[in-house]
Symmetry: C2
Subunit: 141 residues, 2 copies
DNA sequence: AATATAACTTACGTTAACGTAAACTGCAAT
DNA sequence: ATTGCAGTTTACGTTAACGTAAGTTATATT
């Protein structure tokens, strides 16, 4: 039986399980529900999260890491929903995908230059450190 | 004289010039000063921004784009300041550089997967669009 | 001299994203 | 039976990052 739970893919989760996995509080997860980003099933009054719910939460958390607002994450989530019935909707979605890609590309550039800056700063630090050590060596001699 | 102002590198800026260039309000710039991220010179009561100030502001704005808080941007700015006198300080700075790099690397990964997701979503949209168009063609015939 | 423009200070207001506390429910183990 | 979790709802509190308004000052222009 332990083997079964170890091998079988888990398909539902409690709120605290997800909270643990994604390192957020249960309050936070409920907040995302208040904001309409999640809509878990219920077993009585308990929330039951599906694999799809978990995936959504993962996307939200990832979004947070790169500075997306809950609104923006919500719009991204909507994009991934299948219910795109008409042409108009699909074209608006395509447009949104385009602008999203541009924003993300800008972020990529920003991060790259920041990483470069960090490299420079690190080099500078090491130079200064070495200078200080050299002086110390000289005095100890 | 116009030529001079066109060719010579500008070295000081008014608050509204910077606001325009970086697409923020003057209120925002003053707020960054309240938060100790900037400390421009004064000419009477007017703020005069140096090239260094401009560079700092650029870094702050860039930081915002990737979701940094003003505090975090402030800490980054401190790193780039020269006044690293003692060994202890330098080592702490090096450590901070390390963790910063890790955070940025994580963001790089997050953005990459998001871009991949967008590619998938776009492909899906296009497929659906084509299907809708095919149906339309069939009926018009 | 009067007016416009750009800057300034002070201070209260607003929004997002939760934190925190209080009081309730249902089930499980002692 | 009660104690103790894990979960729930409701609601007020908090922090960051500015927005917005009101009144003041300095400089330049008509």
């Amino acid at each position: 039986m332990v083997l079964a739970t170890m091998l079988k893919e888990k398909t539902t989760y409690s709120i605290s399980e997800l909270a643990q996995e994604f390192d957020v509080t249960t309050r936070t997860i409920r907040h995302y529900e208040d904001m309409q980003l999640l809509l878990p099933a219920r077993q009585g009054q308990k929330r039951i999260y599906s694999l799809a719910d978990r995936t959504k939460l993962k996307l939200i958390v990832r979004g947070k890491r790169i500075g997306l607002s809950l609104q923006e994450s919500g719009e991204l989530l909507n994009m991934y929903e299948p219910g795109q019935s008409n042409v108009d909707q699909l074209e608006r979605t395509l447009e949104y995908i385009g602008t999203s890609r541009q924003k993300l590309s800008q972020q990529l550039r920003d991060i790259s230059t920041m990483l470069d800056d960090l490299d420079e700063a690190e080099a500078g630090c090491k130079v200064e450190l070495k200078a200080l050590h050299d002086i110390a060596d000289q005095h100890s001699h």
